[in-house]
């Protein structure tokens, strides 16, 4: 391959890497905006931790756990290529990845992905988890569970060999994060005041909608890199198709979720619009390169509806997810993965069963791992802050800071 094409491909992949990095800002703002002011510093701190520790861990072990290079047709569940990272022979040449990118780009792109899974947990457990408990869960989950699951498909493992398809990670990234979030909040319990003694739900309002809305728009932008980079080259036809399906699914998800929630609840709820956009994005992620525009819109639209319903379902089950992370990443993620068997170029009953199997196996593994992790943390460090700390706010309890210490509002 000629240097020019290799360079153009690598430029695209580096930009996509930057965009996926930027998603961490999107997550930070979204989570901070949808939660209460007294926990804002805590949420930002967790997000800074996730991206920095996530990258370091991925350099230390994650990458070599995820891309260990299973042999052709290998059946193992686990392989480790060694600590640390060092480029292989020829890793900087067009020979490395059919000219799509260099080995360094590969590492960094994948490293930015890894941290995402932890961020999903961060949103769901917000406002009551102990900081140290979160550190441990995030480190082990991102450092071990995520790469192992990833290796089964993207590392050329057994899921890949079976023919499971997950383009950019509806299951491998979003559901993986979503399952851990679900398990953790089950053991963590709801925030004080979320459910009254008589069983009724109470709303707990986010403190800053412009932050949250900005976060969603940044996430959409970041998805250009998340899905666009998953083409693993700058191939004009595929990358541009992927951006189109991604954007149309996001649009359909948002519009449909807002209409659907308006029908159900008779108000134009901005947070449902935002969650719908994210639901559409997560849903299209598994098959972004396989769909026509019409199919992308349908998948996104159903993603939007699923998010609205899942939020209601979790509410009924008294599973308290302050930012809707589980509805968006787990439910829409599963839907998107299955949709690859229903719509698009790969649609077939066989493919659907494969997708179902993939969703099931990954789900089972994640649930078990998360269970183990959460129970151990709960038994040792403890998962949850004290009642006093929670009511007083984590910013005060864990950081001795206030997010808006100098803010005042008397007029003019």
């Amino acid at each position: 391959m000629d240097t020019a094409l290799f360079t153009a491909n690598n430029v695209w992949m580096m930009i996509c890497t930057a965009l996926v990095f930027f998603m961490h800002m999107g997550f930070s703002l979204l989570e901070a905006g949808l939660t209460r002011q007294k926990n804002t510093v805590n949420i930002l701190f967790k997000n800074f931790f996730v991206i920095t520790a996530g990258l370091l861990l991925y350099a230390l072990a994650g990458f070599n756990l995820m891309y260990p290079g299973f042999e052709e047709g290998a059946t193992g569940f686990f392989k480790f290529a060694g600590w640390g990272i060092a480029p292989p022979e020829g890793g900087m040449t067009a020979a490395y990845a059919s000219g799509g990118y260099t080995w360094w780009t590969d590492f960094l792109f994948q490293g930015m992905f890894a941290a995402t899974a932890a961020t999903i947990i961060s949103g769901a457990v917000a406002e009551r988890i102990k900081l140290e408990a979160f550190f441990v869960i995030a480190i082990l989950y991102v450092g071990i569970v995520y790469p192992i699951v990833g290796s089964w498909q993207w590392g050329g493992g057994f899921l890949y060999n079976w023919g499971f398809y997950d383009f950019a990670g509806s299951t491998l990234v979003h559901s993986v994060g979503g399952w851990a979030a679900l398990i953790t909040i089950y053991f963590l319990g709801a925030r004080i005041g979320k459910y009254s003694a008589d069983g009724t739900s109470n709303p707990i309002f986010g403190h800053n909608m412009p932050l949250a809305a900005g976060g969603v728009l940044i996430l959409w932008l970041g998805w250009f890199g998340f899905n666009g980079g998953s083409v693993l080259s700058a191939d004009p036809a595929t990358t541009s198709l992927v951006l189109v399906t991604t954007s149309l699914a996001a649009s359909a998800g948002g519009i449909v979720a807002s209409i659907f929630s308006h029908i159900l609840y008779k108000n134009y709820d901005l947070t449902m619009f935002m969650n719908g956009v994210l639901g559409g994005l997560v849903a299209i992620t598994a098959g972004a390169d396989q769909m026509s525009t019409g199919e992308a819109m349908i998948i996104g639209a159903i993603g939007g509806i699923i998010v609205v319903l899942a939020i209601a379902l979790l509410e009924k089950l008294k599973l308290d997810d302050p930012v809707g992370a589980i509805a968006v990443h787990l439910f829409a993620g599963m839907w998107g993965t299955l949709a690859v068997g229903i719509f698009g170029n790969m649609a077939s009953t066989k493919q659907f069963m494969l997708q179902l199997a993939g969703v099931g196996i990954v789900g089972a593994f994640c649930v078990l791992s998360a269970l183990l992790l959460v129970l151990v943390v709960n038994a040792t460090i403890g998962l949850r802050v004290t009642k006093e700390q929670e009511i007083g706010g984590l910013d005060d309890a864990e950081h001795g800071m206030s997010a808006y210490a100098d803010f005042s509002v008397s007029k003019k």
Partner: protein, 112 residues
């Protein structure tokens, strides 16, 4: 001297302010408070329906000489009322002394 504490709808503030000015009351302080009263709104947030009796209100604190109490109260009632539940309350409290910080002088003359 009396202190008038009026809890009004934020939306009526401009009208009340103007009517008070007409009544000769141009000095006062105000801030925003949350009120629990008879008014009640049904709402839905992220699919959770709830009803709130906590409403945003503006608190006016006006210290006046005795002869201004009646006109001030009337001004607030006229301009602050919409006829709907939740228009708010006015309370009158006794004040024993007033000082002007700038000059240190005290008494009813400082109230303007």
């Amino acid at each position: 001297m009396k202190k008038i504490e009026a809890l009004i709808r934020k939306t009526q503030f401009e009208d009340v302010k103007n009517r008070l000015h007409e009544a000769g009351v141009t000095f006062f302080s105000y801030w925003d408070v949350t009120g629990l009263g008879n008014e009640n709104k049904g709402r839905v947030y992220r699919g959770v329906s709830y009803s709130t009796s906590a409403i945003e209100r503006r608190m006016l604190s006006i210290v006046v000489n005795d002869d201004f109490v009646e006109p001030a109260v009337q001004a607030i009632i006229e301009a602050g009322g919409t006829g709907n539940i939740g228009d708010g309350k006015i309370f009158v409290l006794p004040v024993e002394e007033a000082y002007r910080i700038r000059t240190g002088e005290k008494g009813g003359d400082t109230l303007n």
